[in-house]
């Protein structure tokens, strides 16, 4: 048994499979960062830091005649979203009920996916520098009319090309902007979504938590997501009525090439 303590939970094999499948199904569409940046790992729960290959000078070495340096690392962060499920619902699932109420798990999935997206695209003060805050490019306003989005997207790509950042490119779109793009057609009825995909030569990703949009290069090597413990469900405690569980992951995120992304503001 590992730190998730899953075998201590009053949950059957059928129940665990139900929960894992449900979480996977809810998380996968929303994990926009993983669709646009390089992913490595999982390296395990005990993985604590990413090597940056850099050093800091240390003053006052412990003895005369020597110098001291300290390696710089990027500490792994942990994200956790707690939730509580009715044991009666899980018992019904064991009996074959196909409509078990897993709303709390669904909500936790949304929360942790959103948090991962925000951390990667916009940063986490004191812990992670996000893509948009690292980008040296002036953010480009998207404007109010979605059928005019092609201009800021084309401008973003032109800026990337000016810096020698090649494609293909992806665009992570916040929820509202995604909805506007999907429902919009240009003059002549051509879907805006398809036109933008053609400009990007890459995907448009639904990104809950993203403010506006972020255009990133997919050429690789520019943005690195290092997974320690990949998203997992763990056990916390239970009583006669409820079992308290949590979704958890650990990761670090490093912007290697800040100029390989442009933020588009709503």
């Amino acid at each position: 048994m590992n730190h998730l303590l899953r075998s201590h939970a009053p949950i059957s094999d059928v129940g665990w499979k139900l929960l894992d499948d449900e979480a996977r199904e809810r998380l996968t569409p929303a994990l926009a960062a993983r669709k646009t940046v390089d992913f490595s790992g999982p390296h395990g729960w005990d993985y604590a830091a990413t090597n940056l290959g850099r050093i800091a000078k240390l003053d006052q070495p412990p003895a005369e005649g020597v110098t001291g340096l300290q390696r710089q690392v990027l500490a792994v962060v942990e994200l956790r979203a707690d939730f509580e499920l009715s044991r009666e619902e899980l018992r019904d699932a064991d009996r074959g009920a196909e409509d078990a109420d897993l709303a709390a798990l669904d909500d936790a999935s949304r929360r942790i996916a959103r948090a991962e997206n925000v951390a990667v695209f916009h940063g986490w003060p004191g812990a992670i520098t996000g893509i948009s805050e690292a980008s040296p490019h002036e953010p480009i306003p998207l404007g109010d009319a979605p059928d005019a989005y092609r201009r800021p997207v084309a401008s973003a790509i032109e800026r990337l090309l000016c810096d020698g950042i090649t494609g293909p490119y992806a665009m992570a779109l916040g929820r509202e902007q995604f909805r506007l793009v999907v429902e919009s057609a240009e003059h002549g009825g051509y879907p805006l979504l398809d036109h933008l995909r053609k400009i990007l030569e890459g995907p448009i990703v639904w990104a809950p938590g993203v403010k506006g949009a972020v255009v990133v290069s997919l050429r690789g090597g520019d943005f690195q997501f290092e997974s320690g413990q990949d998203l997992s469900i763990g056990y916390d405690s239970h009583d006669a009525e409820f079992v308290r569980l949590y979704l958890q992951e650990s990761f670090s995120f490093h912007v290697v090439t800040p100029e390989a992304a442009v933020a588009l503001t709503a």
């Binding site: 590992n2 075998s7 665990w16 894992d20 390089d38 999982p42």
Partner: protein
């Protein structure tokens, strides 16, 4: 060009599964190459030719190992079972049975694996 590594319609498969299938195919090819060099070296009498082939076989060992490590990283259950079998002295079958039982038991019979994770990993190539 053929796409023989796919057993199901590729357009219906998630990008991560297609990548996994490509690496499985690559792993098979490397294992075949190792087998071929083993046979050639068993019969070759020219020492210079043998040296060249031994060097080439080393490359295949490396390629096979890289493929395997990639696949194990993407499939936690496979990784856990492999950890219970590889680089251990003793009875291989016994280790295998124990590793399989532990891997499947620990995760409550569900998917996931040695770390109990959901095994989502990277999603590059998946738009929705």
């Amino acid at each position: 060009m053929g796409f023989d590594q796919y057993h199901e319609p590729p357009e219906e498969l998630p990008a991560a599964t297609r990548t996994f299938a490509r690496l499985c195919a690559s792993l098979t090819e490397e294992a075949e190459a190792i087998g071929w060099y083993e046979q050639r070296l068993a019969l070759e009498t020219d020492p210079e030719a043998s040296a060249v082939m031994r060097d080439a076989m080393g490359e295949e060992y490396k390629h096979f190992s890289m493929n395997l490590e990639f696949l194990l990283r993407r499939n936690p259950t496979w990784r856990e079972i492999a950890q219970g079998i590889l680089f251990k002295a003793g009875d291989i079958v016994e280790h295998a049975e124990e590793a399989e039982a532990e891997a499947l038991d620990e995760d409550g019979g569900a998917e996931g694996g040695y770390d109990g994770s959901l095994g989502i990993g990277g999603l590059r190539g998946a738009e929705r």
